[in-house]
Subunit: 196 residues, 2 copies
Amino acid sequence: MTTARGRGRPRGGGGERRDQILAAARARFARAGFAATSLREIAADAGVDAALISHHFGTKSALLAATLDLPFDPAERLAAVIDGDLEHLPERMVRTFVTSWDEHPEVFAAAFRSGDAAPVATIAREVVMTAIRDRLQGPDRDLRAALVTSQIMGLGLQRWVLRLEPVASAAVEDLVRVHAPAVDALVSGRPERSRG
Amino acid sequence: MTTARGRGRPRGGGGERRDQILAAARARFARAGFAATSLREIAADAGVDAALISHHFGTKSALLAATLDLPFDPAERLAAVIDGDLEHLPERMVRTFVTSWDEHPEVFAAAFRSGDAAPVATIAREVVMTAIRDRLQGPDRDLRAALVTSQIMGLGLQRWVLRLEPVASAAVEDLVRVHAPAVDALVSGRPERSRG
């Protein structure tokens, strides 16, 4: 489900139908939300076969990424973070998030500066929060998943939007080392804080 | 230094000189930065006595808050957070941040949507990060203070800008209970994660 197949722009032809699919997807996602929209409905709106959407975009989350003009599919990157062991999930999350967006800082910044913050909210809610929540155990899973997302977004805000030092220039592994324990506090969901 | 005296708008008269002071402060802060600017320099630029700035605004951070049209002085609120015991600092920080801005969600959102994010960056860098860093012990104090700030900003982003559930409607004490351990991981600066 989170594995993108055949993603990316086609080499030649199909550009018009690809644009029709994107337009239909944008309208459906805006009207009904990401979760309630099926590829079949988008295909019907666009007047194409659903298989053509899979051919052009792969998964529904990859289609969402394409409607938002994202340079990669966050769900695909996130899958590698989520699928591994829970103990090192915080390290993987910080490392994957930082290395992925370090390649496209201007896209991240543009998503925040676009006037309305809808694209950021859509990705956060429909892709990131959902995937994390399904991996957590214990109480307050929804709130903990949301706060993990807010931590990660706050990190991106400082690094690529506000460009605040020392976060803006910090080495990736320093961010992983220092920030992962904070993510872990939410991932492991310890209500009691143990002090050394 | 973080106690605001005589803050707020004067009851009558002085409006013109108050505006001159604000204009001079905005120009100086933009040109030289908050830390490198003295009230004396602003007074000279505005053609007033430095005592008049104290009379109208109190502290330099309160003057910064006024130049940014903030409804309260973040440094003043932060002082109560910073001054108490370190063990409960994370709880106090989350509670004070959320209750302060819950009264002015539109101001927080406007600061993010203003096109350039300078006001947010200025407050984060000059007021919040500095105050937190001075209270921390151990290694990576600059980075840990910055990441505490980014966590808190990410929380505000979800609650007042993106209005993402469940953070947008969460009870203050639920946010304190669930998020404070994550702040604490950075405040206490434990490099090792202990698992129960």
